[in-house]
């Protein structure tokens, strides 16, 4: 969660409260809150941290950062399945009673 990942604004939902948009992080798309960069336009790049766009970023810088994060395996860590990762780290397997729940929220 420490990462702030650059992504491209794909669409903006003007009706959402708080203001929300769909952001593309090099192929992974997620909703993010745009309330703190409320005049952002579709096609611009923003730095997103825990689901909130915090600042704009130019395209070249954004693409370079995304490439680096992917090389470091940090995108998988940020957007992958946290339970599976935790199980791997613990040397354990997820049980049937308490299966992978990384995506059950949404």
């Amino acid at each position: 969660m420490c990462l702030a990942v650059p992504g491209k604004v794909v669409s903006i939902d003007d009706q959402a409260d708080p203001l929300t948009g769909l952001i593309d992080f090099g192929g992974v798309q997620k909703q993010a809150c745009l309330e703190y960069v409320s005049d952002v336009q579709v096609g611009e790049y923003v730095i997103v941290h825990v689901g909130f766009a915090l600042q704009r970023l130019d395209e070249a810088s954004a693409l370079a950062s995304l490439k680096l994060f992917e090389e470091l395996g940090l995108l998988e860590e940020e957007f992958g399945d946290a339970w599976e990762q935790a199980a791997n780290e613990a040397g354990a397997t997820l049980t049937a009673e308490h299966p992978n729940s990384g995506s059950e929220v949404l």
Binding site: P18, C33, G102
Partner: protein
């Protein structure tokens, strides 16, 4: 310098390194505050490419690492209670409390859920009005706008079943504490870029002046870090100590005013304990009076928890830049990412995990570079 072929722009990296080598005439110790920067430095071998006179010291900028043990234990206690849905970022799952972690609590039947954003936790509270939804609100200034928005929305929507377990920390008081320590060797800082994206740079000139240290706002990519080092060394050689922004593409002097307004509405400055370091005055945030009803510590009455750190773990010294991870006897022996004693080993942003991952495991660095490093800094 043959290993800089891995950099995005090797020619620019070489030029920056040449200038750092040409500029540094005396020993200088710089601290990178951010855990993301630490990983980038170790992964790309930046510390090994620098002239001998320039030492990088790893700072306390990993929020997972500095979240105190008693707060972890409070999280485990709350997450174990019936009727609670406990929401956390994924990287808190394996942080060890006194006798278990959130991953174990889930295995024992606790309803622990991983969320990507605090707004996801808020959505859970809306969907489950019969349950208490608690969000583990840790992080530095970068995370605070998100957590502030979540609780602000909870109040606006009248969601009485939502609360935050808050353990927010702030960078400037940590810089002050590090510089005030008698054994401090730090002479300049690479300030964390994304913290400054939110906060701006207004808090730093006073610190630069008072302690006589350059503070260079720095990004995360290898070239960003080299540029931050270049500027800091140049200031030190000239006897200067100012705030410089080497990450202007993402950091404005006034930060993000809308985010700052939300933080100031929801939080107030408070003393905080830092895991392994201890209490630092005014180094964090707690919910302001108007939002105190959303404080999980009050709602669940977990104030009585008292804990002790494992004596063998020296993560506090690592976090303060007093020792390198490899100087701890437990490093790589009794303490590994699979069996971590302290959070600096479990968190991907932790300095111990970075050293373990890139120096002891199957490092993606060239074999020759790895061998040279191990010769310089042997590990068990």
């Amino acid at each position: 310098m043959k290993y800089i072929d891995e950099f995005n722009d090797p020619d620019l990296a070489r030029r920056l390194l040449d200038e750092i080598h040409a500029t540094a005439t005396r020993p200088w110790a710089l601290m990178e505050v951010c855990g993301g920067q630490t990983h980038s430095i170790i992964r790309h071998g930046i510390d090994q490419l620098l002239p001998e006179q320039v030492e990088l010291i790893h700072g306390p900028g990993c929020p997972v690492c500095v979240t105190p043990l008693d707060v972890i234990d409070k999280a485990l206690e709350i997450a174990s209670r019936p009727g609670v849905i406990f929401c956390s970022f994924g990287d808190m799952l394996r942080v060890p409390g006194t006798d278990r972690d959130l991953f174990r609590v889930k295995g024992e039947g606790g309803d622990v859920r991983v969320v990507y954003s605090p707004l996801d936790a808020l959505e859970l509270a809306r969907k489950h009005p019969d349950r208490e939804v608690v969000f583990f609100a840790i992080g530095f200034e970068t995370t605070a706008p998100a957590n502030a928005m979540a609780v602000h929305q909870a109040r606006r929507l009248g969601l009485a079943n939502f609360s935050l377990l808050v353990s927010h920390v702030r960078v400037p008081p940590a810089v002050e504490a590090i510089m005030s320590a008698p054994q401090c060797r730090v002479q300049g800082f690479l300030a964390a870029g994304h913290v400054c994206s939110v906060m701006g740079t207004a808090e730093y000139p006073e610190l630069a002046e008072r302690f006589g240290v350059p503070l260079v706002v720095t990004g995360f990519e290898p070239l960003d870090i080299l540029e931050g080092i270049r500027r800091a060394v140049r200031q030190l050689e000239r006897g200067e100590h100012r705030v410089e922004n080497a990450y202007a593409r993402a950091v404005r002097e006034d930060g993000n005013p809308a985010a700052l307004r939300m933080i100031q509405e929801v939080f107030e400055v408070a003393d905080r304990n830092w895991r392994g370091i201890g209490r630092i005055p005014r180094s964090g945030w707690r919910l302001s009076e108007a939002f105190r009803a959303y404080d999980a510590e009050h709602r669940f009455d977990v104030g009585g928890i008292r804990t002790e750190e494992p004596a063998e773990c020296r993560s506090g010294e690592v976090l303060q830049g007093l020792i390198k991870p490899t100087e701890c006897a437990a490093f790589g022996t009794t303490c590994t990412p699979r069996t971590p004693l302290g959070a600096t080993m479990v968190s991907s942003e932790g300095a111990c995990a970075a050293y373990y991952l890139y120096r002891r495991m199957n490092s993606p660095m060239p074999q020759a570079a790895r061998a040279a490093r191990e010769e310089m800094n042997p590990v068990a």
